[in-house]
C-alpha cells in the first residue's frame, strides 16, 4: 500500500521527530508536523480517491496473430465527487510477454461523468483468450500511497494464427469417385459435364466418337466428360506433450499451426475438402469441409491447439487411417526424427493415399529433454524411409521464410 516514496516520507517523519525531541528546536518540530500532515493527508486522499466506477469493454471477437486489437472502453463514475490520477490496468494474456498489462492513467473524471475512449493491444500469440479482469489502482495526489481494486470485466477473444500466402502446393490426389461430391473435379472422367475432345485411342467407346469433328479433321475424334469426384486432404498435427520444441513463437508447434492453416486455406481456395486431425487426450478432428465457415472452424481449431496430448504422432496416424478416404491426400507435419510416424505412413501408401510430409528440423528449434536428434546414420535412414514412401517432402528449419518455401512445388 505504501509506495517507495511513501516509505521515504515515513522515515523522514520518524527522523524529524527524533531530531526534534533531541534538540527541541521549533523549526524541526514544524518540519515534522508538515511531513506528518502530508503523510496522513495522502492516506485519506488515497481512500477518498478510490473511484466507484463502472467499466464496460467492447472488443472484437476474433483477431489474427500480430494484429492490433482495438478496444473501446466506457467508464462511468457512479459517485458524486470527481476522482483524479487513478490507473486502470487491463490484462490480456495473449500480449507479448511483459506487456500483458495495459495501463490507462486517468487524469480526471467528474462526478457522474461517463467517458468513452479507445486503445489498442497487440495480439502477440494465437489462442482463445480472456481479456481482464481490470484492476483499478488509486493513489493520492502525490503518490505516497496506492490501493488496488479488481473489477470482474472479462471479454473473450479468439486470436487466429498468422497465416502466410501459399503460392503453390502439390496437387492433391485425383479424389475418390463419389456422387456425394457437390462439384466436379477439373479432370476428365465420366460425368455428363462436357470436358473437351481428343483423338481416338484404342479402347475408347465407339459411342463417344464425335462425328462432326471426325468429319472435319478426317480422323476419329472422341468426346470427353468431366469425372464426378471430390479431392480430399487430411492434415495431421503432432500434439504430443513434449514434442513442441523451442520458445515463444519460434516453436515447432507454432510453425506447424501456421503451415497447417495456410495450406488448408490454399487448398480450400482450390475447392479441396480439408479435414484436420490432432490428438490430445482425445481426438480433436475438424471433419471434411470447405468454404468460408469451414475455414474459420479450422482457424478456431488451430487457435486453440496446445501440445498437451498423450498420443504420439504414430498413434495419431493409426487413428487417422480410419477416417482418411482412399485416393485422398494426407499432409503430415512432423519432426524430422520421428521414425515411428514414418513407419505408420506406410499403410497410407498401401491404401493409395498421396503423402505429403512437412518435416520440421527439431534440432534448429532447440533441445527438449527426452527428445533425441538423429545422428548422421539415423538421418540417412529417415531420408531413405521418406524416399521409400514416395512422398512429397518439405523440410523446414527455424527461421525459414515459409512463404518462400511454399512458392514453388
Amino acid at each position: 500500500m505504501l509506495t517507495s516514496k511513501g516509505i521515504s516520507l515515513l522515515f523522514t517523519v520518524i527522523i524529524l521527530l527524533a531530531i526534534a525531541w533531541n534538540t527541541d528546536i521549533t523549526m524541526v518540530y514544524i518540519f515534522f508536523v508538515i511531513a506528518f500532515v502530508m503523510f496522513i493527508m495522502a492516506y485519506f486522499h488515497m481512500r477518498l480517491n478510490m473511484p466507484d466506477i463502472e467499466v464496460q469493454r467492447v472488443t472484437q471477437d476474433t483477431a489474427y496473430e500480430d494484429e492490433m486489437m482495438n478496444i473501446k472502453m466506457n467508464i462511468r463514475n457512479n459517485i458524486s465527487r470527481s476522482a483524479s490520477f487513478f490507473e486502470i490496468v487491463d490484462y490480456f494474456p495473449g500480449a507479448e510477454p511483459g506487456k500483458e498489462n495495459t495501463s490507462l492513467f486517468m487524469l480526471n473524471i467528474r462526478a457522474k461523468e461517463e467517458m468513452n475512449f479507445n486503445y489498442t493491444m497487440d495480439c502477440y500469440k494465437r489462442g482463445i483468450w480472456k481479456i481482464g479482469p481490470i484492476q483499478v489502482v488509486s493513489q493520492d495526489a502525490l503518490g505516497f500511497f496506492r490501493m488496488r481494486k479488481a473489477l470482474n470485466v472479462v471479454s473473450n477473444i479468439i486470436v487466429y494464427p498468422a497465416l502466410f500466402r501459399v503460392f503453390a502446393f502439390p496437387p492433391p490426389a485425383s479424389g475418390s469417385v463419389s456422387w456425394l461430391g457437390v462439384e466436379t473435379a477439373k479432370i476428365s472422367g465420366d460425368s455428363h459435364e462436357f470436358f473437351g475432345v481428343r483423338e481416338y485411342q484404342r479402347g475408347d467407346l465407339m459411342s463417344r466418337i464425335h462425328w462432326p469433328s471426325t468429319a472435319r479433321h478426317n480422323k476419329l475424334i472422341v468426346k470427353q466428360f468431366e469425372r464426378n469426384a471430390i479431392q480430399e486432404v487430411t492434415i495431421v498435427l503432432d500434439l504430443k506433450k513434449g514434442n513442441d520444441i523451442g520458445v515463444g513463437k519460434e516453436t515447432t508447434l507454432e510453425y506447424a499451426v501456421k503451415i497447417a492453416g495456410s495450406v488448408a486455406r490454399y487448398l480450400m481456395d482450390n475447392r479441396v475438402f480439408v479435414q484436420l486431425v490432432g490428438y490430445t487426450d482425445e481426438a480433436r478432428v475438424v471433419p471434411f469441409g470447405r468454404g468460408e465457415s469451414h475455414a474459420f472452424k479450422i482457424l478456431e481449431y488451430l487457435a486453440g491447439v496446445r501440445s498437451e496430448g498423450v498420443y504420439t504422432l504414430s498413434e495419431t496416424l493409426e487413428e487417422a487411417s480410419f477416417i482418411t478416404p482412399y485416393r485422398s491426400t494426407l499432409v503430415t507435419i512432423m519432426l524430422d526424427n520421428d521414425m515411428d510416424a514414418l513407419s505408420s505412413l506406410v499403410q497410407f501408401k498401401i491404401k493409395g493415399i498421396k503423402l505429403i510430409v512437412i518435416a520440421l528440423a527439431g534440432s534448429t528449434f532447440g533441445h527438449v529433454e527426452g527428445s533425441e536428434h538423429l545422428d548422421e546414420a539415423g538421418a540417412r535412414e529417415f531420408d531413405e524411409a521418406l524416399a521409400g514412401l514416395e512422398a512429397h517432402v518439405y523440410r523446414i528449419s527455424k527461421g525459414d521464410k515459409l512463404e518462400k518455401i511454399f512458392e514453388t512445388v
Binding site: 533531541n22 528546536i25 518540530y29 500532515v37 490507473e87 495501463s103 490507462l104 467517458m115 502525490l142
Partner: protein, 540 residues
Amino acid sequence: MDKDKLYFHFANLGLVIMGILSIQKTVGPVMAALLVLGSVGGFLFSWYIRNSRPPHIDTFIGMLSLASAVAVLSRLYEAEISFENLLRIFSTALAWLCLFQTFGLKEQKSYSLLQFISAALLISSVSLALEEETVYILYLTAFLFTLIFAMRLDLVCEKQGRGSIIIGDREEVMGLWHQIKVGAIMFSIVLSLSAIVYPAVPRFNNLSLDWIPSTLLGLSEKNPILKLLPSADKSIKEDKVKKEQKVDDASKKRETAKAEIKTKGPEEKKEEDAKENKKETTERFKASDFNKNIDAYKIESLTIKADRDKLPLDQQASITAEIKLTDGSVIQATKLVDWKVTGTAKVSLDKDGKLSPKEEGTVQISASYMGAFSNDVKIKITQPVTPKKKKSFLFHLLMLFLWLLILALLVFSIIIFIRSQKLAAMFRDNPKEFIKEVYAALCRALKIYGMPKFDYTAYREFYDFIREFISARPGPMQALTEGFLEARFSSHEISVAHSRNALESFHGVKDVILEREEKNKFWKGFLFRLTVLDVLLVPK
C-alpha cells in the same frame, strides 16, 4: 519532450536551487553562486543531450563522478565532522548530481535523490540558523509548494515513461495554471492542518518525558550527529540540569543540590570533567562595610543579582546584593556581604560589586551575611568580542555582479530554450518558416566574423561574399542558400525533408566556420555558438 516533463524538469531545478540558497550562509556566497551555476549548467547540459547520447559520455560521466567521490572522501579524511562540513559535502554532491543529470533525465528516475538532498540541506541549515527563522520559513514554504507541484507532475511523467496511456483532457488538467492552482490548494491545506496539529505535537517538556532515558526512544545521547547541532544546549540533558537548578534555587539547598548534580551518570560526569579541565578554585572577598543596625534574626533572605550571565574578558559585570527583612523592607547590601567566588576563572571583585574577569572560564558567585546564604549566580567568562570585519564595497559589488550573472544566465537559458522549442515545432509544422529562421540565425552569427548581410544584399550575392571565408567547404552554405531561396520564393509545398536538409547544411556551415584557423578563434567561436544556440538545440 512534452510540457509536463518540461514543467517537472524546471520544478526540480527550482527545488535544487532553493536547497542551495538555504545553505548560502554556511558555504559562503561565492560557493553558493558557483553551486547554483553548476546546477543550472548541469541541467542545461543534460537538456542538451537528452535525445542523443554522445559517444563515450557514460564513461566520461562515470570517471568524473568517481573523481569527485575520491576528492570529497579524501577531504573528509582530514575534515572535522561538523554540521557545516556535512552541509558542504551535501551541497557538493548535489551540484555533481545536477551536473550529471544525464543519468536520469530521460527516464526521470534520479530526481528523487536530488529532492531528498535539497530537503536535507534545507532542514539542516534551518537547524543551524535559528535566529533567522523568518527567512527559512519562506524557504520552507517555497520548497513545499514546488515539491507538491513537482510530485504531481512526477506521477504523470512516471506513468508516461512506463508506457501508460494518458486519458483525459491534458490541456485542462495538466495546464501550468491548473497545476499551480491545485498545488496552491494542497499547499494551503497542508499548512492549515499543520497549524492545527502543531500545538498537539508531543514535546519532552509538556509531556514530562524527560525522565525517559533517551536511549529508550532510540536516540543514543552519544549519537555524534545529534551532538553536532550547535544548538545542542537545548538537548534533553541540558534541560534536566536546568530544571534541577531551578529546584535548588527554590529550596535554597545549595550544597545538597550541588551534590545531586554531581551524582549524575558516569557519562555526564566525564563530560563535565572534560569541561572542567581547569582546576576549580575558590576565592573569598570580605565585606568592605558593616551595618550594625541590621538585626541578624530579622533577615528573611539574601539575594544576589548580576547584570549579565556572559561576560567578555575586556568588560565588567555588576553584582548587587539585597537583604530582605522580616518586616518587608529591603536593604542594599553589596558592600556588606562576604563574597565567595568558585570557578575555573580568576576574577576580582571590588567593594562596589564590580566583577573584573582575568581569564576565560566559569564562575559561580554567592554571598553570605551573618549566617544568611544567598542564591548562586553563574557567570561565563568569554573571549572579548571582536567586531566583525566589515566587508568591502568591492566584495558586495562582486556578489551583486555574480548574482546578476546568474540571473542573466537563467533568463538567457529560458529564452534560448523557448526559442529552440519554437524552432523544433516549426521544423515539423512549418518548414518554410523554419528554413528562413535558420538562415537568419546564420546571418546574425556571421556578423561576429565581420560579415554582415545588409538588406540590400541579395542572397546569392551574400553567398559569393562569404565564399572565400568558407572556402574549405562552400557546399553546405550554397545548399543552405538555395534551400532558403526555395522556401522563400517558391510556391510549392516545403516539407520536413527540406527542413532536415536545411538543418544539415546549417550544421555543415557551422563546422566549416568553427574549423577555421584565425586570431581570437576561441572567443569568436564561443560567441558564434551562443548566437546560434537555439538552432543548435533543435534535434536533427
